[in-house]
Symmetry: C2
């Protein structure tokens, strides 16, 4: 886990709890959304980078597996692995852990697209951003491929 | 769309907007989460039903495709199609629409699991609940299978 990026840390707050007393499904996704913001910072698409390049990232598609529950007041962390990229897209997996017992609470595979903000259209990564992504992939491609990748939803009979 | 269940209606609020001025990815999922609550009501797992049966639904797995943006103050609706079920699981697709122009903004395929709340374990649907689910599937299985079903995330080369 050490080689993955620590992209978010948070404490579960009351607004995120459902009638079961657990983190509501959508708020797992909010933790991953903030992790994506941190990944953007990491590759040079922080607020300054977005202004300079006129680019931002949109989430095109996401898959999430719910593996464990978490409750009010618990501390959680997101670790992110870059799986692949091309000139416009990032393929990533976010992992939500509870550091107190090391339990993996959820995994989310996502495809993110670089967007030219004014045109609102897909665009190639800026040169400096692509260099950061390539350097990150050099490290991450030596790691094992995460288990929650390439999944299809369905009832098998 | 008329045969699908209208499971949620909302107006986009300021707290849900990201730095791009659009609905943040996680809050699409919150709209779908509330739609799942309404689906639970529809099949007899409202608060009374949960108390009587000691059952609830957990989201096991979800896939979401982001298709369009929505902004502060816009009205949106979720329509839900039941795709399949077995004795413990529901396979559904939620669709997020903007009724003003009829645009499909997102689709989310999900697998939901019936859980015995005290044991925290998967359990068969209660008889009355299963009857409601079967009746719903009778209607929904005659509808076309939605496009955003069975998807896999990945960069193809």
């Amino acid at each position: 886990m050490n080689e993955l990026l620590l992209t978010h840390q948070a404490t579960i707050v009351e607004d995120w709890i459902d009638y079961n007393g657990h983190l509501r499904d959508a708020f797992y996704f909010l933790l991953f959304s903030h992790a994506t913001d941190a990944l953007m910072d990491r590759i040079g698409l922080d607020a300054d980078g977005r202004a300079i390049h006129g680019h931002t990232l949109y989430t095109l598609e996401a898959h999430i597996n719910y593996l464990g529950e978490t409750r009010l007041g618990e501390q959680v962390q997101v670790f992110t692995q870059l799986i692949d990229h091309d000139s416009k897209r990032l393929h990533i997996v976010h992992h939500l852990y509870r550091p107190a017992d090391g339990e993996l609470l959820a995994a989310s595979e996502q495809m993110l697209m670089n967007i030219a903000s004014l045109a609102g259209r897909a665009a190639k990564f800026a040169t400096g951003v692509e260099a950061n992504i390539s350097a990150l992939l050099q490290t991450h491609r030596t790691l094992p491929r995460p288990g929650y990748c390439g999944r299809v939803i369905g009832i098998r009979r």
